[in-house]
């Protein structure tokens, strides 16, 4: 799960295969990796890929703002690692 999320972000927002370009604890908000529309693309990807429903109320930094946060959120949503 972690690897899929990382791949999506590397490919779509950092345009690279170089895994070292993305730290799992890097805040998207602080680093500017993702913009407002990027967050929508990311949420759509997570919904499709992991078959979860993500409400507007779920889209908060605690759940989405880093690879670590996303993995934790997906696990809380019942996705298997």
């Amino acid at each position: 799960m972690r690897e899929q999320v990382r791949q999506f972000i590397l490919e779509n927002f950092l345009y690279t295969d170089d895994g070292s370009a993305l730290r799992d604890d890097a805040s998207f908000q602080e680093s500017g990796i993702i913009d407002s529309t990027g967050i929508i693309e990311l949420v759509e990807f997570l919904q499709d890929q992991f078959a979860v429903t993500i409400d507007d109320d779920d889209i908060v930094p605690e759940n989405i703002d880093s690879v670590d946060a996303i993995v934790g959120f997906l696990q809380r949503k019942g996705c298997q690692a």
Partner: protein
């Protein structure tokens, strides 16, 4: 003629309400007395270090109490505040710093581009805000916090005023011709007073601010609120719209300002109705047209807040027109009437005023109109004609004097709160091996208004693909300038004289 400045306005608020919070960032509140102290400390420090009136001092900081203090401190010392776009990369930042010949750079110690920026040849002195991250090797520098702590009852005195320069705002970053809008103390002060006269802000105003202070719209929010002694709550990101609504409710905010995408994001991606916005008195919207359906939806949800539609340009310090909220329904789609102190004429391509009801370019005159572009007399002469600012925007005026924008400055791309010159991006892409020719245009986007598209003619066997172009741009340009889409074509459509027909590419 007034010799008052923004610095005087801060001093008055610090006198009138020293204990009131001027700025709130997360758990931290900075009072007017403290903001005054911070600004005065920096001003005295810069003056003692030999800042001469008119010297440029660049500021590279996210919205923060330190940003505000530095801005006022620079101007009090007689310096010209050059607030730089914090999303820009070292390439543009270096261009601007060299172009304005900055003597100081006051920067967030954690700004991600700082190492690359400091690696460029330079002779500016450095003042760092916040803790220096481990591993960052900064040559001799001073700490903003130390300067503030060392000052003993510093006094804020304005060493410059009137027509002397107060600020430069860079609106484009090409190496050949950066565009730096120069504003005098009188420009800024006149515009702030004019905005206050129609917004009628009270001294107990609390605004939640999401707009960057380094753009003219955000700049006007900072100074109007400081002038009345209001409180500005800083929310530095719209990535999580729900957060902004929570902040509005928690702080019992009385005001809120946005560009079109601010409202489309809040309405489209968060539940406005789930938050208590009963304290909101007014909302302002500028930076391009917001679809009437969104305005209506917002007003259904927050009917008690007056909704101000406004229009302006950086070249006009910020504001040119406003639509009185009580006329909004009747004049939907209009940007309103000139603000106090501003005259507007609609003129044809020969500079003649067009007959009533016909479309013409907006020409504007008033105390808020810029002094010109920094060290760019040709561009200044094209833009300021006989004291009138040529906006490049086309409009018509109805019988009641309300203006309707019908066409915008053709090439400029508006994406979210950003205005993007295609040239900035074209220049960066041209540096990529294998690019024969490139044109950049804005294409419609539901959320952001427009997003960037690059159309490229590549050399045969260049091996260029979309990802390489984006990766190249990402290293050199602010994130919002990285093309959303890249298209490869055999040739670019051109006029007989060889000019690219951009409209055919969008």
């Amino acid at each position: 003629m007034s010799r008052d400045t923004l610095v005087h306005a801060l001093a008055r608020s610090a006198e009138a309400c020293p204990d009131r919070a001027a700025l709130i960032l997360g758990p931290r509140a900075v009072s007017y007395a403290r903001l005054y102290h911070m600004a005065a400390a920096l001003a005295e420090h810069l003056a003692a270090r030999g800042l001469a009136v008119g010297d440029r001092v660049a500021l590279l900081s996210r919205n923060s109490p330190e940003y505000a203090a530095a801005y006022y401190g620079i101007q009090a010392a007689g310096g010209v505040a050059v607030a730089l776009n914090v999303e820009a990369k070292a390439r543009d930042l270096g261009n601007w710093l060299r172009h304005c010949e900055a003597r100081w750079l006051i920067a967030d110690a954690r700004h991600p581009e700082l190492p690359q920026l400091l690696a460029q040849p330079h002779d500016w002195c450095i003042i760092l805000i916040g803790e220096v991250p481990p591993g960052l090797d900064v040559e001799p520098h001073e700490a903003f916090g130390d300067i503030v702590d060392a000052a003993h009852e510093p006094r804020l005195a304005a060493r410059a005023a009137g027509d002397e320069l107060a600020a430069i705002i860079y609106t484009s970053g090409t190496t050949g011709e950066p565009k730096g809008v120069t504003l005098s103390h009188r420009n800024l002060y006149a515009n702030i007073q004019s905005i206050l006269s129609y917004l009628r802000l009270a001294d107990d105003e609390i605004i939640v601010n999401v707009l960057p202070f380094y753009y003219s719209y955000g700049n006007s929010i900072l100074h109007t609120h400081v002038a009345v002694g209001g409180t500005i709550v800083l929310e530095n990101s719209l990535l999580y719209p729900q957060r902004v609504l929570q902040s509005l409710a928690r702080h019992r905010a009385t005001g809120f300002s946005g560009v079109p995408s601010t409202f489309t994001l809040l309405l489209g991606r968060a539940r406005v109705e789930a938050h208590d916005l009963s304290a909101l008195r007014y909302v302002t919207q500028a930076g391009g047209p917001l679809a009437p359906s969104y305005i209506r939806r917002w007003r259904e949800l927050v009917p008690h807040a007056r909704f101000f539609v406004m229009y302006g340009q950086t070249e006009a310090s910020a504001r040119l027109t406003w639509l009185p909220p009580e006329r909004l329904d009747e004049k939907m789609g209009s940007v309103g009437i000139p603000i106090p102190g501003v005259e507007i004429e609609l003129r044809d391509e020969h500079g003649q005023v067009v007959p009533e009801g016909e479309t013409g370019e907006i020409w504007a005159r008033g105390e808020n109109i810029m002094q010109g572009y920094w060290r760019n007399p040709e561009r200044t002469a094209e833009t300021i004609v006989d004291g009138w600012l040529r906006t490049g925007d086309l409009a018509r005026r109805d019988a009641d004097g309300f203006l309707y924008i019908v066409g915008r400055n053709a090439d400029m791309i508006k994406s979210g709160a950003h205005r993007i010159h295609p040239k900035d991006i074209e220049e960066a892409i041209s540096e990529l091996d294998g690019v024969v020719e490139v044109a950049v245009v804005g294409v419609p986007d539901e959320l952001l208004g427009q997003v960037v598209k690059a159309v490229i003619v590549a050399a045969p066997d260049s091996g260029l693909d979309e990802r390489r172009v984006k990766a190249h741009c990402r290293e050199r340009l602010a994130q919002y300038k990285v093309p959303r889409t890249v298209e490869f074509v055999e040739e670019l459509p051109k006029t007989a004289s060889g000019k690219i027909r951009r409209f055919m590419l969008a």
